[in-house]
C-alpha cells in the first residue's frame, strides 16, 4: 500500500501520510463497510441457524411440496384442501396480480376523470374534484378499506333481500352476482374473429397515419377500428352462431344459482385501492396538463382545430411526458398496497403465504423471502414496462 501516492504527491516529490491519501482512504472506508456488513450477516445467519435448530425447523424450500390443508375462499385456478403449499402460493400470487391489474385500470380511468374535472371551467365540478382528492388522500388507506368492507359491504342485506340491479346483477352480503358466459363447443372461431378484427384495426390505423403524413387528410380510424373489432366477431357470430350461452344468477332457495359470484373481500379491496390511488393519479394528471403551456392550446385553436382534437393531439401527448413517470410509481404503490388485503381477509400472496403458510409451517425466513421476492419482481417488471413506454413517448430533442 505504500506505493500508492496521488499524482500530485508524486509531482511535488513529497510523501504524504497514508491517511491523507484519497485513494487509500476510499479503499479503507469501503473495506470497513464491507467487513462490517459481512460480520453482521454472519452474525445474523449464525443466530438464525441456532434459533431454527432449537425450534426443530429445517430450512429449505422442501415444504412447498407439503399438503397445505387450508382452504382459500377466492381462487382463479383449481385448489383444494389436498393441494400443496406451492399451489397455495400460486393462488395468492394470481389473486394479487388480478387485483393489481384491475385496480390499475380502474384507478387510471377514475384518476384521469377526476384530474380533468379539477381543471374544469365549471366551478362546482372543479371544487367537487378538489374535495375528493383532499379527503381521499388524507385518510389512511386501511381506514378506507375497513370502511368499504366492514362499513358498507357487511351491512348489505342478506341473500333473500338482495339489491337487484337491472335484474342481471344482485348485490348482497356474499358479494356481487353477475351473469357469466358459458362457452359451447365450436366457440373457438370467435377469438379468431376478434383477432382478425383487431388486426384490421391496427392496419387501418397504420394506413390512416401514413396517409395523414403524406396528404394531411385525417381519417376517422378510431371509429372504423372500433367497428372492425366489434363488427367482425358479430358477423361471424351471426353466420356460424355465437356458440355461447349466458348463465344468469337466479335466487334458488337460500342462495343464488348460476352466474358468477364476486367475493365481497375482492370488491372492497378493489374499490378501496382504486379510489385511493385515483386521488393521487388525479393530482398527477392535473399537474401534467398544467405543465403544457397555454400557448399550445391557443396555437391549436388558431389553426382552426376543434377543441377535442386540440386536447387529444396537442395537449395530451405533451402532458403524458410529465404524467407517465409519476404514474409508474402509483401503479407500483397500488400493487404493493394490495397487501393490505390481509386486514379484510382477501387471500392474496401476503395473506396466504406470509400469513397462513408461515403460521402453519414456521418456515419464517423462506416465506418472507418468497413474498418479498415476488413483490420485487413485480415492481421490476412494472417499472421496466413503464420505462419502455416512457421512452416510447418521450420528447426526442435534436
Amino acid at each position: 500500500m505504500t506505493g500508492m501516492v496521488d499524482r500530485a504527491d508524486r509531482f511535488s516529490g513529497a510523501t504524504v501520510p497514508l491517511w491523507k491519501n484519497r485513494t487509500a482512504r476510499a479503499l479503507f472506508y469501503q473495506a470497513v463497510v464491507l467487513g462490517l456488513l459481512v460480520l453482521l450477516t454472519a452474525f445474523f445467519v449464525h443466530n438464525t441457524g441456532v434459533n431454527l435448530a432449537k425450534r426443530g425447523i429445517a430450512s429449505g424450500f422442501g415444504f412447498l411440496n407439503g399438503v397445505a390443508g387450508f382452504d382459500i375462499s377466492f381462487k382463479l385456478v383449481s385448489y383444494s384442501l389436498t393441494s400443496s403449499y406451492g399451489r397455495a402460493l400460486l393462488i395468492g400470487l394470481l389473486n394479487t396480480l388480478l387485483v393489481a391489474a384491475v385496480g390499475v385500470v380502474l384507478a387510471t380511468v377514475l384518476g384521469f376523470v377526476v384530474g380533468v374535472a379539477r381543471l374544469s371551467s365549471n366551478w362546482i365540478i372543479a371544487k367537487l374534484a378538489a374535495v375528493y382528492v383532499d379527503v381521499i388522500r388524507n385518510i389512511p388507506l386501511l381506514a378506507q378499506l375497513i370502511f368499504w368492507y366492514f362499513g358498507v359491504l357487511s351491512t348489505l342485506p342478506g341473500v333473500r333481500q338482495s339489491i337487484d340491479l337491472l335484474g342481471l346483477f344482485f348485490l348482497n352480503q356474499r358479494g356481487l352476482y353477475a351473469p357469466v358466459p358459458e362457452l359451447q363447443p365450436g366457440f373457438g372461431i370467435m377469438p379468431v374473429a376478434l383477432l382478425v378484427g383487431a388486426l384490421g384495426a391496427v392496419l387501418v390505423s397504420a394506413w390512416a397515419r401514413r396517409r395523414q403524413m403524406m396528404t394531411g387528410q385525417p381519417f376517422h380510424s378510431f371509429w372504423v377500428g372500433l367497428g372492425l373489432i366489434v363488427g367482425v366477431p358479430m358477423i361471424v357470430g351471426l353466420i356460424f352462431g355465437f356458440r355461447m350461452t349466458w348463465s344468469f344468477p337466479e335466487l334458488a332457495g337460500f342462495n343464488f344459482k348460476g352466474g358468477f359470484q364476486i367475493a365481497p373481500e375482492f370488491i372492497a379491496l378493489l374499490v378501496g385501492l382504486s379510489i385511493h390511488t385515483s386521488a393521487f393519479i388525479a393530482e398527477i394528471v392535473r399537474s401534467g396538463v398544467q405543465a403544457v403551456s397555454h400557448g399550445q392550446t391557443e396555437a391549436g385553436l388558431a389553426l382552426g382545430l376543434k377543441r377535442g382534437i386540440v386536447t387529444r393531439k396537442i395537449v395530451l401527448p405533451q402532458a403524458l411526458r410529465v404524467i407517465v413517470p409519476p404514474l409508474t410509481s402509483q401503479y407500483l404503490n397500488l400493487t404493493k398496497n394490495s397487501s393490505l388485503a390481509v386486514f379484510i381477509g382477501f387471500p392474496e400472496v401476503v395473506a396466504v403465504f406470509a400469513g397462513t403458510t408461515l403460521n402453519q409451517t414456521g418456515q419464517a425466513v423462506e416465506c418472507i423471502a418468497i413474498t418479498m421476492a415476488i413483490y420485487l419482481v413485480i415492481s421490476l417488471l412494472i417499472s421496466l414496462f413503464m420505462n419502455w413506454y416512457n421512452r416510447h413517448i418521450a420528447l426526442v430533442e435534436r
Binding site: L128, F147, S379
Partner: protein
C-alpha cells in the same frame, strides 16, 4: 368609448350633456353573471352543474343528519344508550381515553401529556418563522428530547414503570410516526450521500438497500420485523414488540427519505460543489456546511409528504398486534357493548387523521411559497 354615431363635421357634445354609461347587463355581473360564467357556460356544463347539485343534495343532507342532527351525543355505557339512528358519539365519549392513550394506566397519563406538550412546543418553535434559535431547538428535539420522552413514557428512575405493551391509540401513532421521521432523516441523508458516492462498494450497498426496501410493501417489512428479527438475535435476547415495529418502520421510511433527499442533492448546481472544494473544504465539511443545508431546504415539501405518508401507514402495525388509533377504534367496536358501530369509529378517527395530514400538507404548501419568495426576482 368612441361614439361612432356622431358625424365628423358636428362638434362633439359637451361632456355634461352625454348620457351616463349604461350599467353592464345584469347577466354579466354579480351572482348571476358569475353563475353564468362558472356554472352554465354551455349546455354540457349546465348538465354537469345540475348533476353535481343533485349529487350534493343526495349526499350532504343525509351525512349532516347522520353526523350531527340524529347523532347521539349523551354519555352512556353501551350501545343501548344510543337511541337515535345517527352516529353514536356516546361510544367515542366512553372510549375517548383509550383512543388517545391505549391501555396506559389512567393515573399515569399526565406523563404522556407532558411528552406531547414538549413535542408540540418544540415543533411549533421550529415551524413558526419568527421564533429564534431554531438550531438549538432542533438539537434539543433530536438529541435530548428522545431520552426525556423515553424516561417519561416507560418509567423507571422514580417513575412507575409502564410496559410498552400498554401503549396504544393516538399516542402510539405519534410515537411511531415521530420516531420514524427522526430516525429516517439522518439515516436518509447518509443513504442519499452513499448513493451518490464515488466509492463503488458504498454505492452498491446503499442502492441495494434503498431499492430493496422500496420494492416491497410495508406489511412485508413489518412481517419481517415481527418474525425474522427475533431469529437474528442470539438465544435468550428478546426484543420488545414496539421496538421491532419501530425498527421496521424506520428502515422503511429511511429508504423513502433517501430518495427525497437525493432529489434535493441533485438540484444543487455543480458550481456549489466546485466552490466548496475550491475553498479547500473536505467532503464532510462541504456537505454539512454548503450542500445539505441547501438540499434539505429544497426537499422540505418532500419530507413533509413522506411524514404524512408515514403517519397514515403506522396503522399497519396492527399486523403485529399493536393497536394505534385506527386499531383501537376498530377494536372498541368489537366490544360486545358497542358492536356494529364501525362507521362511527371510522368517522371519528378519519377526522383526526384528516386534521393532522391536511394541516401538514397545507403547512408544507405555505412553506413552499414562502421559500420560493426569496428566489422570485
Amino acid at each position: 368609448m368612441v361614439d361612432l354615431a356622431h358625424r365628423a363635421d358636428e362638434p362633439p357634445p359637451p361632456p355634461e350633456s352625454r348620457k351616463p354609461d349604461e350599467p353592464p347587463p345584469v347577466m354579466a355581473v354579480g351572482l348571476l353573471g358569475w353563475a353564468r360564467a362558472h356554472l352554465f357556460s354551455s349546455i354540457g356544463n349546465s348538465i354537469l352543474t345540475l348533476l353535481a347539485l343533485w349529487f350534493l343534495y343526495k349526499t350532504i343532507p343525509p351525512l349532516v343528519d347522520w353526523l350531527f342532527i340524529s347523532a347521539n351525543w349523551q354519555e352512556g355505557t353501551s350501545r343501548a344508550d344510543c337511541v337515535k339512528p345517527g352516529a353514536c358519539w356516546t361510544m367515542v365519549r366512553a372510549r375517548f381515553g383509550q383512543m388517545m392513550y391505549g391501555f396506559y394506566p389512567v393515573e399515569e397519563r399526565w406523563r404522556v401529556n407532558i411528552v406531547g406538550l414538549i413535542l408540540v412546543v418544540g415543533v411549533a418553535g421550529i415551524l413558526i418563522e419568527r421564533v429564534p434559535h431554531k438550531l438549538w431547538i432542533g438539537a434539543f428535539l433530536f438529541l435530548i428530547y428522545p431520552f426525556i420522552a423515553f424516561w417519561l413514557l416507560c418509567g423507571g428512575l422514580g417513575l412507575v414503570p409502564v410496559d410498552t405493551s400498554r401503549f396504544g391509540g393516538l399516542m402510539l401513532t405519534l410515537i411511531l410516526a415521530v420516531t420514524g421521521i427522526a430516525v429516517s432523516l439522518p439515516v436518509g441523508v447518509i443513504l442519499a450521500l452513499g448513493r451518490r458516492s464515488a466509492m463503488p462498494v458504498i454505492r452498491i450497498v446503499t442502492v441495494a438497500f434503498i431499492e430493496f426496501v422500496r420494492g416491497v410493501p410495508l406489511i412485508t417489512v413489518l412481517f419481517m420485523a415481527s418474525v425474522i428479527f427475533p431469529l437474528f438475535l442470539p438465544e435468550g435476547v428478546t426484543f420488545d414488540k414496539l421496538l421491532r415495529a419501530l425498527v421496521g418502520i424506520s428502515l422503511f421510511s429511511s429508504a423513502y427519505m433517501a430518495e427525497v433527499i437525493r432529489g434535493g442533492l441533485q438540484a444543487i448546481p455543480k458550481g456549489q460543489y466546485e466552490g466548496a472544494m475550491s475553498l479547500g473544504l473536505n467532503y464532510w465539511k462541504m456537505n454539512s456546511f454548503i450542500i445539505l443545508p441547501q438540499a434539505l431546504r429544497i426537499c422540505i415539501p418532500g419530507i413533509v409528504n413522506s411524514f404524512i405518508g408515514l403517519f397514515m401507514d403506522t396503522n399497519l402495525v396492527l399486523i403485529m398486534g399493536l393497536v394505534e388509533l385506527l386499531g383501537i377504534a376498530q377494536a372498541s367496536t368489537r366490544d360486545p357493548n358497542w358492536l356494529g358501530l364501525i362507521n362511527t369509529a371510522l368517522a371519528f378517527v378519519s377526522v383526526i387523521y384528516f386534521a393532522f395530514c391536511f394541516g401538514m400538507s397545507r403547512y408544507s404548501q405555505a412553506l413552499e411559497r414562502r421559500l420560493a419568495k426569496g428566489r422570485r426576482r
